[in-house]
């Protein structure tokens, strides 16, 4: 039976709405606030006000993986080197949270994954330490230097990374003329990335989606738009440059290696082929969040409490080997 791709994608978006996980979102916001206050207490006047930069701020979040990032902007003289800044923040967070969370060093951030709480929820917060480029300049330009802890695409381990104006990155999505469509497609690509364990950072997917909307005439229904963006990625990812919205000398395309880009192009090629060949395949690439199945499906649950159809996988009986 063929799948109505547009109906399915709408249901994917609905089932992944951030508002469906309000309680969990609130826990994240509370935890981020707690970490922010702890950092301010520890670093005092060396730190400007930490702020949220993740997908929630950009309205591109989806409820399977919260992108709660906390940017910690430090003053120029707070640390001699970016490496010392990174290490200091890691040591502080590790000491403070080692008994209640897994604290690990990530590419440019420090990841905190809190132990499962009484409701079975896991809260994750990424803290991104950054340092202003020159003394007292941050309040004027919002520019920060980050430390690259491990190889990040083409960017070498141990190098400094200028990540300018995170606030303007947030505005980049919010300010787009077709912001609703852009956000929908970004959310869908994040659903694909999450369920299929794919590599590109969300920020990369955001920028390349915006670029596709800028370069191509993208119209029609939601599948048409998603397909157009996937085609753009398939054809252009190896050559496209994705300047950081705040600092054009910063190319976000460099966060993927050439081989990662080949893989991403191939991912898009295969995904379009398979979905065009058999519309049911869209359900495998873009699954509905089974926790929040569409209403009509909930109604179709039979009297035994066993769900049928999209929401629940009933394994076929005829596999042989």
């Amino acid at each position: 039976m063929a799948t109505d791709k547009n109906k399915h994608l709408e249901e994917v978006l609905t089932s992944h709405k951030i508002s469906k996980e309000q309680a969990l979102l609130d826990k994240h916001i509370d935890k981020r606030k707690e970490i922010s206050e702890a950092l301010q207490e520890k670093y005092g006047s060396d730190l400007y006000s930490p702020f949220n930069s993740g997908s929630y701020a950009k309205h591109t979040a989806m409820n399977k993986k919260f992108d709660i990032d906390l940017i910690a902007p430090y003053k120029r003289n707070a640390f001699e080197t970016l490496e010392k800044m990174y290490s200091s923040v890691y040591d502080f967070l590790y000491d403070k949270y080692k008994n209640e969370a897994t604290v690990k060093k990530q590419k440019v951030s420090i990841g905190l994954e809190f132990n499962t709480d009484a409701d079975g929820d896991i809260v994750k917060v990424d803290v991104v330490p950054g340092r202003e480029l020159n003394k007292d300049q941050y309040p004027d330009d919002n520019n920060l230097n980050l430390y690259v802890y491990e190889q990040f695409g083409k960017i070498d381990k141990g190098s400094d990374r200028i990540k300018s104006n995170i606030k303007s990155q947030i505005e980049n999505v919010k300010g787009h003329a077709e912001k609703d469509s852009v956000r929908q497609i970004i959310r869908l690509l994040k659903v694909w990335k999450f369920y299929n364990g794919k590599k590109p950072k969300s920020f990369f997917l955001e920028l390349i989606t915006i670029k596709a909307f800028d370069k191509k005439t993208i119209s029609g229904d939601i599948w048409d738009k998603l397909k157009a963006v996937m085609e753009f990625i398939r054809d252009e990812v190896k050559s496209v440059s994705l300047p950081d919205p705040g600092n054009s000398s910063n190319d976000i395309a460099d966060t993927l290696t050439d081989s990662d880009k080949d893989t991403l192009s191939y991912d898009m090629k295969r995904m379009i082929e398979r979905i065009e060949e058999d519309s049911d395949t869209i359900k495998s690439y873009y699954p509905i969040n089974e926790k929040f199945p569409p209403e009509d499906e909930q109604k179709s649950n039979n009297s035994y409490g066993v769900k049928t159809g999209i929401g629940l996988s009933v394994p076929p009986v005829t596999r042989f080997g």
């Binding site: 299929n196 049911d280 005829t318 596999r319």
Partner: protein, 539 residues
């Protein structure tokens, strides 16, 4: 014109060729001699034309050009016959012209220009078809003059043409108090052993450049007095066997060593002590006796799998195969023939005679545990594969999955593998494998009825992908095989139907691993509309 007249007529017309002894026919064989004047040299050859000529016989040309005086040159056999590489023809006249042209090409390349081939040719040892010793690499660097004992085991008795031939494997070298095992797998290392002697002489013991010395006296310059003293001691021992093997080792290019083997009659060692005139001292000597060389083969993985193996990333992987029915047993056999050396098999099932027609099992093993029979089969194929077996691992896994402590141990055990092939068709197994941390490489494979499709799913969400794809391909086909008696219905497909898909899938999987590409789920679909063909659909 008959065959003999044609030969004489054609050879007589070839430029630079003079018939020095007229061609005659004895039985079915034609004999004669020629002198070939070419590029300023004149060389004599006896010519022997065998009955099959101009057709080949046992993969060899059925014409011989013999000159024993040329044995030191490349591509000359021990009997002085030249190895000519020539063109095929079924026409007597044309074939003679081709073969004399090839002989002239040999004269130019190897006699006149003294060309050396880039690849190393082993020294020529007189043929003895009663015994062959197989050796493999060991973790020891031999130095010149080293000698001692080695152990060997009887592997098999076979036939080479009409003669019985025994195959033995070299097991271990003992030097003083140290011993060094050959790199065979445990099954082979545990075989019963006998003892022989070895000496490492560094340089190949040759005469005429490429031929092994034939008399013991000719070996004397290559060995030390210490070795001869050792041999003298050994000659006083009693032996159960009629002959004692002596391995003679030497270096060949690329930092490798090679072993030849000569048999010493147990009751008549070829060495003796000779008094040095005017002194009370003795010197060890070899007697002027013929040496009885036997064959050896270097069977180290480099050569054993030399004709074709999987990429190093796959060969060096620690591999787990869960489920060894038609698909799993084919995967296992293919990996072992491709050089893989660490394989664990998990399956609780028992092989029944009905399994034999499409899986890697034998009627002769009767009703048998699948893991035991397949493991035996795999170790028979390769002397390098180390097998681990479990018939209950997945049962324990299912029982203990909900116990957090056991679950941790279970996942840790599975994470020790580099490559996992799940060929169980058991959704629970797919579910458990989905729990493993990446970047483990896991492939869950199954086929649809009549082997119309093969499905291979990989993490993440291996369980969902496998079931989604299978559900999409499912045609509601219930045309299953239902034999008489109490036996579960099963799918219909022959060994050929299944193996062709498994081989295609393995080629695709191993290519992607060798290219360092991220594994993807895929399925193979077959059709017979325009001849049989297979299409790959990757996700």
């Amino acid at each position: 014109m008959n065959r003999l007249e044609t030969v004489a007529d054609v050879v007589g017309t070839i430029d630079g060729v003079a018939i020095t002894s007229a061609f005659v026919e004895e039985g079915e064989v034609i004999f004669g001699s020629v002198a070939i004047s070419f590029l300023g040299s004149t060389l004599e050859f006896e010519v022997r034309i065998l009955p099959a000529y101009p057709l080949q016989f046992h993969d060899s040309e059925s014409i011989r050009f013999v000159n024993k005086g040329l044995r030191e040159y490349n591509h000359v056999n021990a009997d002085g016959s030249i190895c000519v590489h020539t063109h095929h023809s079924t026409n007597l006249k044309e074939k003679l012209l081709f073969d004399f042209a090839s002989l002239k090409e040999w004269i130019r390349k190897y006699y006149v220009e003294g060309e050396r081939d880039a690849h190393y040719e082993h020294i020529v040892v007189p043929q003895n078809d009663s015994l062959v010793l197989l050796f493999t690499s060991i973790n020891h660097t031999f130095s010149k003059g080293e000698f001692g004992f080695f152990t060997y085991s009887n592997l098999a008795v076979g036939f080479k043409r009409d003669q019985k031939i025994e195959t033995q494997i070299v097991q271990q070298f003992k030097i003083g108090k140290s011993s060094f095992d050959c790199g065979w797998s445990t099954v082979y290392r545990n075989m019963d052993k006998k003892e022989g002697l070895f000496v490492f002489i560094e340089q190949a013991p040759t005469q005429n450049t490429r031929f092994a010395v034939e008399k013991w006296t000719d070996l004397e310059p290559y060995v030390t007095q210490d070795f001869l003293k050792f041999l003298n001691l050994m000659s006083k021992r009693r032996y159960n066997e009629a002959a004692v093997p002596l391995l003679v080792g030497y270096k060949i290019p690329n930092e490798e060593i090679h072993w030849q083997c000569v048999m010493i009659p147990a009751s008549n060692f070829p060495n003796y002590a000779e008094k040095i005139p005017g002194t009370t001292n003795y010197i060890g000597r070899f007697a002027d006796e013929e040496m009885l060389w036997v064959s050896t083969r270097n069977c180290s993985p480099k050569y054993f799998f030399g004709r074709g193996s999987f990429a190093p990333e796959i060969v060096s992987s620690k591999i787990l195969i869960i489920g060894i029915g038609a698909i799993g047993s084919n995967v296992a056999t293919t990996l072992v023939r491709g050089g893989c050396q660490s394989i664990t098999l998990i399956d609780h099932d028992i092989k029944e005679p009905e399994n034999v027609c499409r899986a890697e099992y034998s009627f002769s093993a009767g009703v048998n545990s699948k893991i035991n029979e397949l493991s035996h089969h795999l170790t028979q194929i390769s002397p390098f594969v180390e097998m681990s077996l479990s018939d209950h691992f997945m049962d324990i896994a299912k029982i203990t999955l909900n116990n957090s402590e056991w679950r941790q141990i279970l996942l840790q055990r599975l994470s020790e593998y580099d490559l996992i092939f799940d060929c169980t068709t058991d959704n629970d197994v797919a579910f458990i494998l989905d729990e493993l941390e990446r970047p483990l490489k896991i492939f869950t494979m199954s086929i649809t009825n009549n082997a119309k499709e093969l499905i291979c799913a990989v993490p993440p969400r291996l369980y969902k992908w496998m079931n989604d794809i299978t559900r999409q391909l499912q045609t509601g086909d219930d045309d299953l095989y239902n034999p008489n008696g109490c036996w579960n219905p099963t799918f219909k497909a022959s060994y050929n139907d299944i193996a062709v898909l498994v081989q295609f899938a393995l080629k695709h999987i191993t290519t992607s691993i060798a290219n360092n590409s991220s594994p993807r789920s895929f399925y193979l679909t077959t059709s017979t509309e325009d001849g049989f063909n297979i299409k790959l659909k990757e996700f």
